[in-house]
C-alpha cells in the first residue's frame, strides 16, 4: 500500500479541504461582530483611521455629528496628526466619556 495511490490522494485532498473549511469557519467565528448598540453604522470592516478619515467617515462614529467632525478636521489641520487615538479627547468639546464609547472603533495608522 503506497501513500500516493490515487485513492489516498483523493482522500487526502478531500480531507485537507474539509479541514481548511472547518478551520476558516472557526476563524471567522472568533472575529468580533459589531454589536448594534455601539456601532450600528459601522459595517464591521475595521477601525476608522482618524488621521485620514474625511467628514462623512467621521460622522459614522457614534456621537459624532457634523460640528464635532469639523472640529476634528480643524484640530488635525492646525495641530498635526493624532499620534495616539486618546488625543481625540483634546479636541474642543470632546470628553473622556465620548472617547470611551468609540475607542474600539478608531485607530491612528
Amino acid at each position: 500500500m503506497t501513500l500516493l495511490s490515487p485513492k489516498t490522494f483523493c482522500n487526502f485532498t478531500r480531507l485537507s479541504c474539509l479541514t481548511l473549511i472547518l478551520l476558516s469557519n472557526a476563524c471567522t467565528a472568533d472575529s468580533p461582530k459589531p454589536r448594534s448598540g455601539i456601532g450600528g453604522a459601522v459595517a464591521g470592516k475595521g477601525a476608522i483611521n482618524i488621521n485620514t478619515a474625511d467628514k462623512p467617515e467621521l460622522m459614522r462614529l457614534p456621537g459624532i455629528g457634523p460640528k464635532t467632525a469639523e472640529k476634528i478636521l480643524f484640530h488635525r489641520a492646525e495641530f498635526g496628526p493624532f499620534e495616539h487615538k486618546a488625543e481625540l479627547i483634546l479636541v474642543d468639546g470632546f470628553g473622556e466619556a465620548q472617547y470611551l464609547k468609540l475607542m474600539h472603533l478608531v485607530k491612528t495608522e
Binding site: 495641530f79 499620534e83 486618546a86 488625543e87 479627547i89 483634546l90 470628553g95 473622556e96 466619556a97 472617547y99
Partner: protein, 891 residues
Amino acid sequence: MRTSHAPSANPLTRNPLFAIAAAFAFGIFLDGGLDADPRFVLFGFILVLASTIFYKSLLTVCVLTSFVCAGALVSGLDRSGSPMTGIAQLMDKGWIKSGDPVRVRGNLDDHPQLSVGGVFLSVSADRIKYKRERIPTSGTLRMFLATDSEASEKCLKDLELTVGDQVRISARLKREDSFLNPGTVSTIDSLNRRGIDATATIKSCFLVKKTGDSVSILSFAYQFREALTQRIIETHDRRTAGIVLASLLGNKNFLTKNSGDTFRENNTFHVLVISGLHITLIGGLILLAVRRLTSNRRAQFVFSNAFLWAYAALVGLQLPVFRAALMYSVFLLGYTAYREASPLNSLGASALTILVWRPADLFNPSFQLTFMSILAIIGFAFPLIKKVRSTGAWMPTAKHPFPPIAAKPVRIVAEVLYWSELRWSSHLKKQNWNCAIEKTAAGRYFADTLAQVWAKRCFEIGVVSFSVQLFLLPLLILNFHRFGTASLFANLFAGAAVVAQNFFSLTGLAVSLVNIEAARSFVSMSAGITDLSLFLQDSLSHHLFTPVRIPVYTGFFALIYPLYYLPLAGFVICAAIWNPFALQVPRKSVRSAAYCSLIFVAGLAALMLFHPFSEPAPEARLRVDFLDVGQGDSSLVTFPGGRTLLIDGGGQREFDAIDSEKRDVAGIGEKVVSEFLWEKGYSTVDFVLSTHPDADHINGLTEVLANFDVKKVFVGGDFTGVGEFERFKAAANEKGLPVIIISEGMVLDFGGAKVSVLNPPQGRIAKADNDDSLVLLITLNARSFLFTGDIGTRTEKRLCDSDTSIAADVVKVAHHGSRTSSSACFVERTNAAYAIIPVGKNSPYGHPHEEVLNGWEKEGSKVFSVGERGTVSVSTDGSDLRIEFFDQPFR
C-alpha cells in the same frame, strides 16, 4: 580712631553681614524699581547721603555703596536674561499659544499629589511637540489630572506613577493673564514667583503615558506621604483632614472654604501654610531637640539639617519651602561656627545667599513676608524681651554689678514679670557678702507666683505677635487687604491648636495600626480641637473684632508703604541702642529719637489703616467701568459727586467657590471685583444692584457685600428658592442691609445723573429668569448708558415696542453677545456709539456670536469685547464721551 577692642556700640557695624545684605537688597530695589518710577532713584540717593550722618567712617560708606552697586548689577543681569527659560519663554514669545494642545515628555518632580477629584502632577519637561515640531526644552509644569470616572481612577492606579518616572502627556498648556483689570494679580507673575512655567488640566488619564520607571530614595518618602494623606482623609472628617493635611504635609487641596476664611479673617492663615516661618519654627524645635542629644555643635548642625531637609523634601520642596530651608541652613552655619553668633548677621547671610541666587525674589511677597517676620522676631522682639528680663531679674553679679538704669514704669513692669525672690536668696547664699536689694513693691508681690508665670508667657507671646504685626503691616495691607485686630489673641490658640491637633491625628494613625477602636478616640480628640479652634476664631471675628478689609493708595501716595520702614528702622535702632546696663545715662537724643520715630510709625500706620482720601476725588463726570470677570457681568458706575453703584459682580468659575464645603478657592468677587475696588481706594460701595440671580452675575456680589461697606441693595424681585440668591440675601441680612425691589417706572437720582428702570414690568411678580433681568438707563444731560443684564429677544421686543426711548450712547450688550439677544430692532432703536460685550476671552459657550457682532457693527456701533481689551471705562460730563481700555489707557 578707636584703639580699644570694646564691641562697637553701633548695632549696624556689629552686624556687618546684615548691613551688607541690606545694601545689596537696596541695590536690587534701585534697579528693579528704576523701571517703575524714577522717583525711587532720587529716594535712594537721599538715603545714601543720609547714611553718611551715621557712618563717619568713609570706608563703611564705600563698602556699603559698592554692595549697593553690586546688587543693582546682579539684578540688571538677571532681568536682561529671561526670568524663566524653556516653555515659559516659548509661550511668552508667542511661539506656543496658551490654550493649544502639546505633547510634553519629562520626569515627575514629585509623587502625584492628592486633591479633590484628581491629582496634581509636577512635571519637569525636557521635550515638547507642538504643531508637528519636536524641540528640546525645559521648564516645570503643574498639571491637574481629573479622576471623576471609575475608568479614570482605574487607569491612574494602573499607571503607578511615582517621583522620577518619565512620562509623556498630551494636554493644553495655559500661561496667560485671564482677568485684565487694575488690581487683579497677574497670573503669569504668580506662576513666575512659584517657579512654574505653565499649568494644564489633563482631561483624561488616557492622555498620560509612562515611558520610564525610576526608583529613587525620595520615592519611598513621597509614597509614604501620599499613603499618609490617604489615611488621614479616610479616618477624619473633611474639615479636620483639610487642616491637618495643610499644616502637616503642605497639602492645601482639602481645605474647606469656611475653614480657610476663618483663618484668613483672624490673620492666622500662616499656620496652615508650610511657609518660611513654619520651616523656621520647626527647624527651631528640631534644633532644641538635637541640642539635648549632643553638645557637639558640628553634630548638631548635621542632624538638624538632616531632619529639616528631610521634612522639607517630604512636603514637596516647592520654591518657598526650599528658600526657607536654605535660609535655615545658612543661619545654622552661623550658629554652629561661632559661639557668639549674632542672629541678625546669620539672617543677613541667609538673605544675601537667596538674593544673589534669585535677585527678583526681593519683590516676591512670599520672600518679603518670611524675611520681615523673622527679622521682627530676632531683630526686635527677642532683644526687647531679653532686655526687659535682664532689667527685671537683675541681681548684683560680676557681669552686671550695678543696677539697670530704666524709667520707673519700665522697672515696675520688668520686675513684676521677671523678679524672682527664690533665685535671689539662692544666689545670695553662694556669695560671701550680704545685702538688701531694692525692688518695687509690685515686683516683690508677684515674685514666684503662678500669675507671674502666666503673665510672663503672655507678655513674651504678645511682644512677638505685636512685633510681627508691626513689621508686616504694609505687606499685609498691600497683599491681603487685611489687618486682623484680633490676631494677637487668635495667634495664641490657633498655633497651639494646630500643633495639638496634629499630635493627636498622628498618634491616632499610629495607634490605628494596632487597635482601630483606640485610634478613633484620638481622631475625635483632633476633630474636637478643630471645632473648638474654629469656633473661638469665628467668635472673635464675628462678635468681637470684625475683620476689616483695607484699600490701598496708588500713585504718589503709595510711597507711604516703603516710607513706613524708615521711622520703624529708626525706632528699632534706638531700641537696640538702649542698654539698661550702660554705664552712662542714655543720651537725650537717643530717647527723643525713639519717641519721635514711634510717633511717625504710629502716624503712618494710622494713615495706612484708616486710609483717608484714598478714594478717587469726586468729579462732575459720570463714569462706568466694565470689568473683565471672564464668564459674567460686572460694572462699576461712579456718579458725579462720587457715589458708586456696582451692577452685578461676576462669579462663575471652574469650581463653585461659594459652596463652603468645596475647595478653598477664592471667587471672582474677591479676586477680581474686590481687588479692583481696593486698588481704586474704595472701602465703601454706596449701592449694589443685582440684575438677576444667575451665578455668573450674583455670586461675586455676595463676596463684595462681605468685604465692603454697602448702603443699599437693589434687586429685581425676591427669588427665594434660588440658591445663589438666598446666599446673597443672607449676606445682606448679616450686614443689616435692606434689600429693595425695583421695577419698571422707578427713577432714582444721584448727583444729577438719573437712573431709570425699564424692566421687569410693573404689576406682576418678577421671575428669576433672564428676561426679567433689571434693565437700567443711566442718563446725565445729553449722554446715556443702557444696562441690559441677560435679557432675551422677548424683552428686547417689548422695550422696542414701548413708548420709552431706549436710545443710548453706550449699550452693554445683553447676555454676553449671545444670539438669543441683540435683535435687529433693539440694535436699531438703541443706536449706540459703543457696544460693550462683557465676556471672557475663551467663552465655553462660544460667546460672543459672530452674527451679534456683525449686527451691531452694521448699525454703526463700535463693538468692544471686555475679555479682549480688559476693563473698558467710559466717562462723560454730560456732553462729551471718553473711552479707555486696560490695554490702552487714555493719554
